[in-house]
Symmetry: C2
Subunit: 334 residues, 2 copies
């Protein structure tokens, strides 16, 4: 491309927009079924159902250790399909670009997106680009919609959860939230902490042989505490989390202690929380630990009879109520 | 809802966000398959393929005569499926809200969206909401992704177009662009001109019995002139438009003459351009004119052998080259 920065004319439907689409988006995201000349894409389909989800991305800054808004926009949507027991197949992409964005930045984002999509085995099959005036739009917003096919034999729903079920997490929590916060440099902190942003399909797929698998969710906005509240509110049961069993990396804990954050409320973008029947919990844990992505998986709690509330048991045997998130400690992390 | 304006906390995944989703989005867009508690929605599917498209919406102002960003976000995506020969079935919705947006405005937009979806026979089956800081985001951006099933027996593609084919438009052009411009009040002009924003599926469906139907497109960004260029560039043939046959409402022409706009480059959001074999052109015209939406349909040109260019023939017999859009006369109209 001849230009170095995005102008409003890149969004007007004319020549510059056509060049942006062919020389940047189609170049990196090219797929046999992605015909940028057509209004809609026809895709083969053989299942008796489809699973669909959509997610928007406004992370600030656009790039952080371990990823950028492009890889995040693939992982976020692919992961929502994966935890629903689906195999992700197709993505569509919406791009809202602020006038003045450096085209080199946009290209890095698109390349990350292409790599993440390839790694996750999904094709980007349709897209749309809009350009907004300088000062509006925060650089770049993305939205992705994912389509997949359900491969889980279980009904994965809150209604499947029973008292006595065990709660597991596939890895350490809070890394994504802290990695984005460090990238903002507003506290003058630096670190080599990486976001956990990743495709979780290998993790969800590993649990599908378990007949006692009840429910899975990726703890993004609001973190692990919010997933615990969602389970508690939807089932009307008490969720008990064992604080000492929740994996948290030292670097995450140190930053949280310094700045007064609770890592249980920080977003992950490559973890899975699963609820499994008690008799299959160890098998679930072993399945996860056999994967590189699940080496630090842990049994972190249980669902118990009682009121809809979330209790955190401390290593010393104390108990405290874990409140529902009110004020977001770290907005714009996804 | 207790609040009157959107705050950042409406986007943080906690209690306020849950209330926004249940009391506003789910209330108006409720559908049996829209379970706002789950990460993804499973939908029944019986065809051997699916047709998918996505579109972003940044229209400014958010409301205009004849519609708002909500109805537009339904029509824009439904229409992309319709012109691809598909029957639209499902939509997903992404919402990017600026902190401070009046909730009453948001509710009007959502109600329009619900009405447009119901009228078009599509269900909104998944959604995501993000809130960005005041000063970013232009009030409200939307993105919709549409899924449908192809019902057209024809291959509707540029490659089907042949020299000698006839070009039709389903109604007057430029109304949407001018309606949005008047809503901006930047020129102090007023008028009762309405946007043509509408679901075009009845129009596209009416042409499907024609074996000679080659291609359809809705002339949105860049208008009729841009569709003519797309046909010309993709086929390598000359497109000839008959200026005197192109339906343009007087009010649109008057505003264009005053401000120096060319209505051929202005967006429509409820029109269809169709390319049809010469021997079926009159039949196509009759099919459209039999519909209230197509009363002003017209045969407006033809595809001819020759170089890839677009020629406008004036009523007096003159000819001029119609240039490809460079600078958008009216940005932010969709």
């Amino acid at each position: 491309m001849q230009d170095t920065h995005i102008s409003l004319a890149h969004g007007n439907g004319g020549r510059l927009m056509r060049e942006l689409i062919t020389q940047l988006f189609a170049k990196h995201l090219q797929h046999p079924t992605l015909n940028t000349q057509l209004d809609a894409t026809t895709l083969p389909w053989s299942a008796s159902h489809l699973v669909i989800t959509t997610d928007g991305f406004i992370v600030k800054p656009l790039e952080f250790a371990g990823g950028n808004i492009g890889s995040l926009a693939v992982h976020g949507t692919v992961n929502d399909l994966a935890v629903a027991g689906a195999k992700p197949l197709y993505l569509t992409l919406n791009v809202f670009i602020e006038e003045g964005l450096e085209i080199a930045t946009l290209e890095r984002v698109i390349i990350s997106m292409a790599q993440a999509a390839q790694q996750a085995g999904v094709s980007i099959v349709a897209g749309d680009t809009k350009v907004v005036q300088r000062g509006e739009g925060g650089g770049l917003y993305l939205a992705t919609t994912g389509v997949g096919v359900k491969i889980a034999p279980q009904t994965l729903d809150f209604s499947s959860i029973q008292a006595g079920d065990i709660i597991l997490v596939s890895g350490a929590v809070g890394n994504h939230g802290i990695a984005v916060m460090l990238a903002r440099e507003q506290f003058g902190l630096r670190g080599d902490l990486q976001s956990d942003s990743a495709n979780v399909f290998p993790l969800t797929h590993a649990l599908l042989p378990l007949t006692g698998l009840r429910f899975m969710r990726d703890p993004t906005r609001g973190g692990l505490a919010t997933v615990a509240h969602e389970i508690s509110q939807a089932t009307g049961k008490t969720v008990i989390l064992e604080q000492g069993n929740i994996p948290i990396h030292d670097a995450v804990q140190v930053v949280c202690d310094m700045l007064g954050y609770d890592p249980l409320y920080l977003a992950c973008e490559g973890r899975v929380v699963a609820v499994v029947a008690k008799e299959q919990a160890e098998q679930a844990l072993a399945s996860w630990r056999a994967l590189a992505q699940g080496e630090q998986a842990a049994i972190i709690g249980q669902v118990a009879t009682g009121d809809a509330r979330v209790i955190l048991r401390t290593p010393l045997g104390g108990e405290r109520l874990l409140e529902e998130l009110e004020d977001d400690p770290l907005p714009r992390i996804c």
